[in-house]
Amino acid sequence: MSNLMSGARILLECLAREGVDVIFGYPGGVTLPLYDVIYDNPIRHVLVRHEENASFSAAGYARATGKVGVCCATSGPGATNLTTGLVDAMMDSIPMVAITGQVTSKLIGSDAFQEADTFGITRPCTKHNFLVKDIKELAQIVHEAFHIASTGRPGPVLVDITKDVLQGQAHYTPVNEIHLPGYKVVTDGHAGQIRRAAQMMWEAQRPYVYAGGGILAAGATPELKELVETLDAPAVCTLMGLGGLPGSHPNFISMPGMHGSYTANMGMYECDLLIALGVRFDDRVTGRLAAFAPHAKVIHVDIDPAEIGKNRAADLPIVGDVKKVLSKLNRNLKELEPEMASKNSEGRKAWWKQIRAWQAEHPIEPVFSADEIKPQHLMYEINKISGGKAIVSVDVGQHQMWAAQFIKFDNPRTWICSGGLGSMGFGLPAAIGAQMAHLDQTVFAICGDGGFQMALPELATLVNYQLPVKVIVMNNGYLGMVRQWQELFYNNRLSSVELSAFPNVELLAAAYGMKGRIVHTPMELASALKEAVDEPGPYLMDVRVSQFENVYPMVPAGAAINEMVLAPPQPVAVPR
């Protein structure tokens, strides 16, 4: 069955078949034919206030759901504005399809109005990209794009569509089959390797689970929990993997890395078997690579063969979908349990004792003051009000690290964070995407005063769609993380990091038509947060925190993971 349709309508048909229910976008000249179809289409379109935020919102939606996030922009500046979000999604392996308009085929290469080589520009920003100049290829390509974005190691795919394709007419027949001969995804994992992995795990005296974003991408949280419990191994989740194991789980240590906890990092250093699951041995986790987990054999499970051995050689590599691999591995572990479990029980008991001793020695403790709001105190209060349940979207910098340290996540896909690229201005638009996916859930956008101002126009989107996002600005008046590095490594010469002229958010919120409040004292913090959460609509809060607080522990650049700079002693105050 086929009927005559415009390219724009074919595109939306394909999106509907892929289960798309919302598009984050910004219209323009060449996408006019598309927006004419969007006008009365059941797929919702969220009009963001800047294309970069369309890509961040789509990422927030994808991160909160696991579904493919879709964003849309016009040719030229619209497309170039998307690129930061594309690279962000690439770095964090987030499934996304970006649709861009392109000038009419005949005009490509003529420096036409709003023409840019989107296909060329976004080639290194995407997992794959397409330029559609023939309407007959459109449906096929859109389905290929979704397949590539959502399978294997997920990632962003861009489809650049010329205006003549969007407004042209063609007979549309639903695509029944796509063929990508060069796109090979290994999901199953080698059975022999998996058996050997189970053997190694029981043989280890000091096993240590290092779980990353791959756990969330694969939906492998139940399997991870089972593994950790069967082995009774301590586990860390990376910045991208938080929520992979419930934050309240007794075996969960915390986040490792540059601002990871003392215990998490010492565990990495001292373990004799590192069980790396859906991770990429990022430099922010490993510190100086040569001194990373020096006593450990490494089992590395990843769906992307190019990740195996990239930074750290694996003693036992397993290429496959971490969910499938873990479910087989768990069966193998159970089979071996009666014979093996008792063998190293003494060693393992000592290992746990060591870990509990580290935790007691250097606990992850918030800092309180009676006179000023400590940033850690803010995160402590947000954690309390969330109870492990709220969706928390963050920007990049000090607040991001404190949030990662102090807020616990009991469910996957509730921590939304630009990990690899570290894009400031991410928190608010990503929260919009997450809130669109989960209208009934509490969503916090925790931003620094720097990142917030990068995303400020999106307050209008919140009000426009009455999205009840709670925007919490951790305001220390500085680009805090850069200031911290200037203090510690550049003789405290604070260069271009002071953010003066921050707007009055009470007036700002009122100007946008939303609730807003400035919080100055520790006394009012808890009640202010409660007021924000109870507010049915969006809420903007400026929390004035102490200006010169630093994030600790800290593994300085180039140092080994056990060479942490710990927090200087602070006067102890009791939380109210």
Partner: protein, 178 residues
């Protein structure tokens, strides 16, 4: 060290850019690159010579294999393979040199593809070092102009080509399963 990469890929716009992008993003300079259609016109075969740190050779191949348009990328640097290059060379020849040039060409297995009062156009194929010598010798006879094809290589091992099967789009649960 100079690495030889052989790539079988889809003959599609942008495919070449994806492959070379992996090298240029690292600041690698491509020494030579040849690409042409295979027997199957939907595919191309490419040979690249590029200076890559030896510890990164495996990673570069893996990242090339990860590209959607690439069916197979292989490192032929230390593998059994035949590598050849073609040289087209124009040499100005005086009357007294002409015989000597022809003799010398014969030694290198070069063919005359054009002859005029000014001189010859010669065509030679062989391993790179041989071609370097050929060019050096011809230079002694007079002014020359050279075009080199860059290396083409064929592996002497039969490598199994594994391709992804077609994917059905009729069951909606096959998609959006990330």
């Amino acid at each position: 060290m100079l690495m030889t990469i052989s790539i079988l890929m889809e003959n599609k716009p942008g495919a070449l850019m994806r492959v070379t992008g992996l090298l240029s993003q690292r600041g690698y300079n491509i020494e030579s690159l040849t690409v042409a259609r295979t027997l199957d016109p939907t595919l191309s075969r490419m040979t690249i010579m590029v200076d890559v740190e030896s510890r990164l050779r495996g990673l570069v191949i893996k990242q090339m294999n990860r590209l959607v348009n690439v069916l197979q990328a292989a490192d032929l640097t230390d593998a059994p393979a035949v590598m050849r290059e073609m040289v087209l060379l124009r040499v100005r020849a005086s009357q007294e040199n002409r015989t000597a040039i022809l003799k010398e060409s014969e030694i290198f297995g070069a063919r005359v593809v054009d002859s005029s009062v000014e001189g010859f156009a010669l065509e030679a194929t062989g391993a790179s070092e041989k071609m370097e010598e050929f060019i050096a010798v011809m230079e002694t006879y007079g002014e020359i102009e050279v075009t080199r094809s860059g290396m083409v290589a064929v592996s002497l091992e039969a490598k199994k080509l594994r391709l992804a099967p077609p994917i059905s789009k009729t069951q909606p649960e096959t998609v959006a399963q990330a």
